[in-house]
């Protein structure tokens, strides 16, 4: 487990709103290793995006992390501002402090669901990239004739000209045509797909350890979606970067992720290798979710399977297993009384369901 990058332990995030308290994330465990792509799937409002923001210590008001930890295994790396290996609990860092600001953007980058409005309208693509670079990117400063250059290399921040070069290079890498011109384009002069590419370029320009992609292709049309996914995959391969890929699109996540985590009402219900999850889903919720995907070649007059019932009222969560009112395998007297634990049920396969517990 020494290659663990992020280890979320029993995370609880609550939103204290007028009508009551919403438990957006309710005891989540999630491990992401270096270089690994983890897909996080679930319905809208199941806590995927809030988890991502908790990792960056920027849960929006009135949300609060009420308990749990987000352990970050930080490694010293050339060209970064920190110099030693350390383990940090991100939930304990001051939210506007130096350390979390180095992590945001510098070590964990994030791209968002709405590329159309994720760039500040009055700044060019280049200015955005420059802003990130000047905060996080360091350039080795080597003195001529210094024998010990390697050992005592000092670093300086990038200059404006260097930043521009890097920006153009990054725009080229994410596949924007005419990057030398586009670097001076304002957001409104770019298409949705181009804007998301710029967002990726900003995030990757600082060579982060991990990229959080919060439904990065939801707002884009399908052909652009495929291009964006290609760009992300290519860059991940060269940069050896972990990706937390949040989506509700099972097709997209199947293409991207090695491992998948399924969330329901703020809890993880199942985790497995992508192949296992698709061919041998264990949790009834995952099974129902997979059945509800339309398949090419299926008889057209057949009705698509749906998940019975409704997403429960967040203010009055069901007792026991939160999925029990909708579960086709509901065991009366058990599921509505006992809260299932999250346990390993096979090789690289975890689930939280009483079907796999002796109760």
């Amino acid at each position: 487990m020494n290659d663990v990058l992020i280890d979320v332990k029993d995370l609880h995030v609550e939103f204290d709103v007028r009508a009551g308290i919403v438990k957006a994330v309710d005891g989540l465990d999630l491990t992401i290793r270096r270089g690994q792509t983890v897909g996080v799937i679930g319905e809208s409002g199941c806590g995927k995006s809030v988890t991502a923001r908790a990792i960056l210590r920027m849960v929006p008001k009135p949300g609060k992390v009420t308990s749990g930890q987000v352990m970050y295994y930080r490694k010293a790396k050339k060209g970064k501002k920190h110099l030693k290996d350390e383990v940090l609990d991100i939930t304990q860092l001051p939210p506007d402090g130096e350390i979390i600001r180095q992590i945001r953007g510098g070590e964990i980058g994030m791209i968002f669901q709405e590329p159309m409005s994720s760039l500040t309208p009055v700044y060019t693509a280049g200015t955005h990239i420059n802003e990130a670079l000047s905060l996080h990117r360091l350039i080795p400063l080597q003195k001529v004739g210094d024998q010990m250059a390697e050992a005592i290399t000092t670093y300086r921040t990038v200059t404006k000209d260097e930043a521009r070069e890097i920006a153009i290079d990054m725009l080229r890498k994410v596949g924007i045509p005419k990057p030398t011109e586009r670097v001076d384009s304002y957001p409104h002069q770019l298409s949705g797909g181009q804007r998301q590419r710029v967002m990726i370029a900003i995030a990757l320009s600082c060579e982060p350890e991990m990229l959080i992609a919060d439904e990065p292709t939801t707002a884009l049309d399908v052909s652009i979606e495929a291009q964006i996914l290609d760009v992300m995959r290519d860059l991940q391969r060269t940069a050896n970067m972990a990706i937390m890929f949040i989506t509700h699109n099972l097709g997209v996540v199947a293409e991207m992720a090695e491992e998948m985590v399924v969330m329901y009402m703020g809890k993880q219900v199942e985790r497995a290798k992508t192949v296992d999850l698709f061919y041998d889903p264990k949790h009834p919720y995952t099974q129902a979710l997979l059945k509800s995907i339309p398949k090419v070649g299926k008889r057209s007059n057949e009705r698509l399977a749906t998940i019975e019932g409704m997403v429960p009222d967040p203010f009055h969560l069901p007792t026991g297993c939160v999925f029990h009112p909708r579960c086709p395998m509901f065991m009366p007297g058990k599921c509505d009384k006992i809260t299932p634990t999250y346990k390993q049920i096979g090789e690289n396969h975890w689930a939280s369901c009483l079907l796999y517990e002796d109760v």
Binding site: R101, G105, M110, S117, S118, L119, T120, E131
Partner: protein, 328 residues
């Protein structure tokens, strides 16, 4: 760009001509003119030669000629820099306005700077600390400022300053400095008097601006690009000022142009009357009341010109500040 400016200039000229004509018509609408009022006054005093005097005046100012001739004569002279003569003061309008222009501009600038320097930070604070005690206090004060007319506040402050504090606060200068040449003491004396109109404008003028700034910023803070900027590792203060406020302030530029420049003439006329300030505002209101038509007309034309120039400037400024806006 040059085309745009020329076109705007063309519209502006047409607008000034139309406004000056319409205002001339409106001034002429009430029955009688300045001289009928004057005649009544003189007769009341029992002046026998009043009739003859008035007829003389009427010929002198051309009031006996047809309306269109009066207007065109005045308009043509206006272009030559002669704005006509004030009936009330029997002096050229140009001199009367020129006399008061300096003080008016100083007062308008002071008001403008104070209003904006107070309103913008308070609006920003109000938005980022939404529903906090500070926000509630600022909100309450700005609603009072919005709701209370400036002249009423002026009366209240005068009462407190004169009756309770026993201070000489009327006008812009103490008696000994009114006609004195500029000196250090005169500047200090000006500052001693300036704080009252400044305070009044700070309360009445900032209210609206604070509310607009707060509303705009709250809306902007919810935009994804603000979250994205934070996720890039920027400090909270940089996120707020460089990304959120930078966007939220754009609509205020329009207000700056359409209120600040015209405010030099029209702004706070009532407050100036109450405080007895030597600005153009009271002169303008008085000229309307007394049908002192060349004075009123000149004020209205300058008011229009300043409004048009202010709007043009704010449009140019906005286009410069926001790349999404194109002028064509």
């Amino acid at each position: 760009m040059v085309n745009y400016l020329l076109r705007r200039l063309g519209y502006a000229i047409i607008m000034v001509v139309l406004v000056s004509f319409v205002s001339f018509v409106i001034i002429k609408l009430p029955p009688g003119d300045f001289l009928t009022q004057k005649l009544a006054q003189l007769q009341a005093r029992g002046d026998r030669s009043a009739e003859n005097q008035i007829a003389e005046y009427r010929a002198k100012y051309g009031l006996d000629r047809p309306f269109m001739v009066q207007y065109t004569t005045w308009a043509v002279n206006f272009l030559k820099g002669d704005f006509g003569e004030s009936f009330e003061y029997e002096r050229p309008v140009k001199d009367l306005l020129g006399q008061r222009l300096g003080m008016t501009v100083i007062l308008a600038l002071a008001t403008l700077i104070i209003t904006w320097v107070i309103a913008i930070p308070l609006g920003v604070y109000s938005a980022i600390k939404q529903y906090s005690l500070g926000d509630q206090v600022i909100t309450t004060i700005s609603f009072i400022g919005l709701g209370m007319p400036g002249f009423l506040l002026a009366l209240l402050i005068l009462y407190v300053a004169i009756i309770i504090l026993n201070q000489d606060v009327l006008g812009l200068f103490s008696k000994e400095y009114v006609d004195a040449p500029w000196s250090f003491g005169r500047v200090i004396d000006l500052l001693k008097h300036l704080w009252i109109p400044a305070l009044i404008s700070a309360v009445t003028g900032t209210g609206g601006l604070i509310r607009i700034m707060r509303g705009n910023l709250l809306e902007t803070l919810g935009q994804p690009f603000v979250e994205a900027a934070r996720a890039r590792g920027l400090k909270n203060s940089q996120v707020i000022w460089k990304h959120a406020v930078r966007i939220a302030i754009n609509p205020l530029i329009v207000i700056l142009g359409s209120e600040a420049l015209p405010g030099i003439i029209g702004g706070g006329a009532l407050v100036s009357i109450v405080l007895n300030l030597p600005t153009i505002g009271p002169l303008f209101v008085d000229s309307l009341r007394k049908l002192d038509m060349y004075m009123a007309g000149t004020c209205i034309v300058f008011f229009t010109i300043l409004l048009l120039v202010g709007n043009l400037l704010s449009d140019l400024l906005l286009a410069w500040a926001d790349p999404r806006i194109r002028l064509d």
